[in-house]
């Protein structure tokens, strides 16, 4: 009488996948006043944008994105990071007929196949997460750049006003924020 053996294997993969990406750039901040004063003016503008200043670094966190500004050098680092808990399962089934000796061998083979499949799925999930993080970072960069450039421009304008006041008596100040122009008339 023939006998059929059903070999069934179930494997599970639980792991945390992490993805991170970052970019750094420099804000254009003219040295109109000494470095420490320029840093303070920049810090004042960044605080208005929700940054927290600790020592020489201003930081703002929004969801998975962290923006850090080194005040003396005006270097900006924007970092996005996230992680995800993976819980993957793989089940393999094979029927063997009239050969009990093959059962162990088949089970080992099916387990290896399941491990390989889970590893590939894990790598795929990690790649996808990495892509999502990078896409998220790239999408936010445009707005962040405009915000920070605005802050740098306002800090520069404040520095110019302070410097003008040091040179003499300010007679008039006219600003056109849209055109990005500032005219200060000083009586020396």
């Amino acid at each position: 009488m023939s006998r059929a053996y059903r070999v069934r294997v179930e494997e599970r993969l639980q792991r945390i996948v992490r993805a991170e990406d970052h970019v750094s750039c420099q804000l254009e901040l003219l040295e109109i006043l000494p470095c420490d004063q320029m840093s303070q003016l920049l810090a004042d503008e960044l605080i208005k944008l929700g940054f927290k200043v600790e020592g020489e670094t201003a930081t703002r966190k929004e969801k998975d994105v962290t923006i850090s500004v080194d005040l003396p050098s005006a270097t900006v680092v924007v970092q996005a990071a996230t992680d995800k808990q993976l819980d993957l399962k793989s089940a393999k089934v094979k029927n063997i007929y009239d050969n009990q000796q093959l059962v162990a061998e088949t089970k080992a083979r099916l387990q290896a196949e399941a491990h390989k499949e889970l590893a590939a799925l894990g790598d795929q999930a990690e790649s996808l997460l990495q892509r999502q993080v990078t896409d998220q970072l790239e999408a936010k960069l445009g707005d962040i750049r405009k915000e920070l450039e605005g802050a740098a421009n306002r800090a520069t304008a404040a520095a110019l006003k302070q410097r003008a006041a040091q040179l003499g008596q300010i007679k008039s100040i006219s600003e056109d924020p849209e055109a990005g122009s500032l005219t200060i008339v000083v009586e020396v």
């Binding site: 970019v23 750039c25 790649s127 892509r131 990078t134 445009g142």
Partner: protein, 227 residues
Amino acid sequence: MAELSVGDQLLMLRTLERLRDTQVAERWLRMRRFAELPLVALCHPDLVSIRERPAVPNFAGQLPDLAWVLECLQPYLAKRWIDVEENKTRIAEVEHMQRLGATQTALLNAFLSAAAQAGRRDLARFLLVSLQQLISIEVAPEVWARRWIRDLRLGAMRLAERTIVYQSASSFLAIAAQLRGWAEECRRVGYLDEGYAAAQLWLADWARYDGENVTLRAAAMVRALSP
């Protein structure tokens, strides 16, 4: 292989156009001597970019002989570079984009340098024409720039790696900065200075093809693609 005459180069160019997308053309283009022919490279930067490393023609040495041909080919060159850029917006493979970008940068830098040195900036008129056609004045630069990268298969590339690919995508747009520099130089050429007539010719082309607005837009697009 002896130096080819202008007539020979024209024949090679026309033959390449007829044999485009065939194995014969591919074999020719893999030969450095062929890919370095100025007319072939300038008219078909997309085809010569199949080489691993860009083949850069000796524009400086051959420009005096080729000037009259390049004058006649201006409309054709403009059309070709517009086609190359339009096709670039459909490239999916990152390596393809990087090779094409590197080829365009090397070619145009060599050509513009030779043209400026020879006092023949007018031979780069096709670049102004192409830029004017390619760049939209109505659509915001950061939106229009995305056309060049929307079909790229970036996979899990990090932003730093994407930036390098985007630079390749915007390699032609980036040339606008050099053309702008030419306009500024030409404005400084006085009436009694040598090269006044050539400077005025460039400024006339600059005004005719809206160089000021177009190059500002191109610069904004390049910035939009540089995180």
